[in-house]
Symmetry: C2
Subunit: 508 residues, 2 copies
């Protein structure tokens, strides 16, 4: 273990340095751990690795609370080691996903702003150890987080004991970037005094009871790089549809050229659509988001974004390299906050965000499934999409109109799982166009969604369903016995597409 004592500026804490392997022995079967880390950024690395090693010889299971998804060191290897009993509130790891879907571990999928409330008010089983990555500890013992804040502050406050992982690979200039604010208990809490994304309302690090710090370990490893892939032809078209929509809003006098604070969700599609601002006329935009992905930094370089507030920085290898080299360019344009602040309903509503998240599938009435493939298998989790879509001024969902080479239509008669109800879905964007659903009754939504967003190969089939459903009436006409037939067709025949002769039969 490589040390750097300068990173522990509080001298009294220097005698708490231990090897990760030793710290790992403190953790026993049945414990609950609260780990730093949000979408791979700032996750703890050394102690999870030591736990994996321990698991080779020993049987034990722990509950793991995090900010969001972690790098492979945590989510992949701990899963493979079989030591996770329950995991919350978000994950995005293929091996873990498989174990969850096979029922080998529990996954509690939560709105990312809510985990902290439940930890604070003792609803969830209490945390034995908070294990937090830091870049340094100040003279006063304040813990400076690294590339994410996540739930670290509340984990540190509520945990029985704390272990710090000082990661030497995380740059020291991160100190000063964070803004740590604790809203306090519900019921005796004051208004959160943040009105602009740039506002600083808290401290530069996490203040803890120093007696609770049981050990400090060192690590030296960058965050796992993000796995998003670059924009493609279709996401570029989607971005253009989104820009068209925003221009229409400006024309209608509802937005100015400054737009409103932007939020963009995780994943390839949301990142790519965000990227579309690069070739736009918009300048000096402000971001109030959760994860800051590659696009944010590219847009800063291009003068399109002047400021970004988030709760984590999750980058591809190349983008991370650029940030590490050219940090002076970005450092005063960034704030990292606890996820309950980046995702807080109070703030999202107050600032009136434009919120862009990705759907797996959307139905003809505008309900969105972001999580469950065929209603059953968990993809990642709802993440912050519910915090944003419900409270934002614009709840925008993007998706390609088809998946798996057209075997799946992302526009379906009835989504097989609902994460976002029609009430929270204002605008839908696919590579086909955009559907502005605001103020429309369910029957008015159908045509706009099918004609503007569905892939042409599925439009006829969608109209067939709706036309037949209409004969039965209702505010939201449906044929319950056929509502999921597209999904069961996909499961049994490998495609949602009906053959011409089946369609002909339906048409009678």
């Amino acid at each position: 273990m490589q040390l750097n004592l300068d990173r522990i500026r509080n001298h009294a804490l220097r005698n708490r340095i231990v090897e990760p392997e030793e710290a790992a022995t403190w953790i026993s079967d049945g414990m609950t751990l609260g780990l730093s880390g949000f979408t791979r950024a700032g996750d703890v690395k050394a102690i999870p690795a030591a736990l994996v090693k321990r698991a080779e010889k020993e049987n034990f299971k722990v509950n793991i609370y995090t900010g969001a998804s972690m790098g492979p060191d945590v989510d992949k290897y701990l899963t493979e080691a079989g030591i996770i009993n329950k995991r919350l509130p978000f994950q995005a790891e293929p091996v873990m996903r498989k174990q969850i879907n096979q029922g080998n571990m529990y996954f509690t999928d939560q709105h990312l702003s809510q985990t902290s409330e439940w930890v604070r008010s003792d609803v969830l089983p209490s945390i034995d150890y908070a294990i937090l990555e830091a870049v340094s500890i100040t003279e006063d013992g304040v813990i400076i987080p690294s590339t994410s804040v996540g739930n670290s502050q509340i984990f540190a406050e509520k945990a029985e004991s704390i272990i710090i992982e000082i990661n030497l690979a995380q740059p020291e200039w991160l100190e000063g970037l964070h803004d740590i604010y604790d809203p306090g208990q519900q019921g005796s809490r004051k208004p959160i005094p943040l009105v602009h994304p740039e506002d600083r309302i808290g401290e530069i690090g996490i203040k803890v009871d120093l007696d609770k710090i049981k050990g400090i370990v060192f690590s030296n490893k960058l965050d796992s790089a993000s796995t998003i892939v670059p924009p493609d032809e279709e996401t570029i078209i989607m971005a253009n549809h989104l820009l068209t929509f925003l221009r229409e809003e400006i024309k209608a006098g509802r937005l100015t050229e400054q737009l409103a604070p932007l939020q963009s969700g995780i994943g390839t599609v949301a990142n790519a659509v965000f990227h579309g601002f690069l070739d736009s006329e918009f300048n000096d935009l402000v971001v109030y988001s959760e994860v800051l992905q590659d696009a944010v930094f590219d847009l800063m370089d291009a003068g399109k974004i002047k400021f970004a507030s988030g709760c984590s920085i999750t980058l591809s290898e190349k983008a991370m390299e650029n940030l590490l080299t050219n940090f002076e360019r970005y450092v005063d344009k960034l704030i990292l906050r606890p996820q309950e602040i980046s995702n807080h309903p109070e703030l999202i509503r107050r600032m009136g965000l434009i919120s862009i998240n990705t759907a797996l599938e959307i139905d003809i009435y505008g309900n969105v499934n972001s999580t469950h493939v065929c209603g059953t298998n968990m993809m990642n989790g709802i993440g912050g999409s519910g915090d944003f879509a419900r409270n934002a001024r614009y709840g925008i969902f993007v998706t390609k109109s088809i998946a798996k080479d057209g075997k799946i239509s992302s526009i379906v008669p009835f989504v097989s799982h609902v994460d976002h109800t029609e009430h929270d879905v204002d605008v839908v964007v696919t590579e086909q166009g955009y559907a502005d659903l605001r103020g429309l009754a369910p029957r008015e939504r159908v045509g706009v969604i099918i004609e503007n967003c569905a892939h042409p190969m599925y439009r006829k089939q969608l109209w067939e369903y709706y036309t037949e459903a209409l004969t039965r009436g209702g505010q939201t006409p449906h044929l319950l016995e056929k509502a999921f037939s597209w999904h069961t067709n996909y499961q049994t025949k490998g495609t949602m597409l009906m053959e011409e002769k089946e369609l002909a039969e339906v048409e009678g």
Copy 2:
């Protein structure tokens, strides 16, 4: 038309008095009207009646925005007159419901805190006339609302013109009860300075541009009485389960005997369950709710509730008589606010409400349908239930375990419409017991819901579904081809209950 000029203390406005029939002629085909009124309370009465008369001889249609549901004068008779093109954001009227479900008029079902945002930011078609019931107009021309505030403030601000209906049947002591606060535009808005339900943050009435007041009419008619029926044996048992849950929370140290501000939804069941506090040990509770129904006043009489903030007072005839006679007993224990304040995510989250709303059906994973019978036919609307359930500290849903003499199970494999996702449903209460779902993964929720909440006559059938679904795996195991079979059975055979031999076949 009976006049009382004392109710118009601003003399300059006295020459704007007209007959309702005259005011009704100002409204022309295609216009949009913003009406006062929230769950029957404080709805305008005279002008809608005049419009109905006009419709006997003339063809025209208007869009109608309100606070929530209105009395028959608006929602029933205007529907029967066939003059509504689109109605939002909530209704609860059998005749209107039928027309909506037959596709004869559009209904846009909205979160009740959101309509004002969409009016304010010009997303919805603009309002030609705001028509508002008032008890009086002050010297300064401030409009004093009656038994509800609803969306009146924003309608008045944004409408082209305003018509006031001074209702002489509404008592003058209502002046001083209201607290009218306008949060302002998203993006340039300040924190809402309300931290306790008792806080006053605004004005006693609605300030308007006096030039916009085109006419003042008089009416003299009490609000239509609420149609809720008194508690029955089952709702008393449900109330006891709720109280048991709250006592467990106190024992666990998560609540004190003061509990937290309470919200209770509309309808018979929520009112009856709320009533259950009458025989409890709790005293001096505080209510921060939307509609104040009968139970609130009974609980005040009993010293159980010391203060109630709402956006409307909707009472049975008897309870209204009592309030009118004994108003001194209640007047300083009440505040009425705009619905965007009573239902504001910022405030609901800050104060950490205990929120009790009613479900039509709930599935084995905790998703809730509050609106659509068999996924298709609108009952009332989502109302404020989404504002509360998402942001409250406790999102509690109550329902009887069966409906229609057992032909319907309110606990089903897959809800036929989702209004509230499992993320927002913390506790489910039926007459069978309560299920505390907080922190549970989907597979953990199933047993608790079936065993504690489903009716015994349906438990075996629910287990059958789940057990078979489990063989296919997944985070949320389902059999998509059978997910709605309970509903289709009800539609085709008149009951969700499978016969013994069908069950035996399933069991193989």
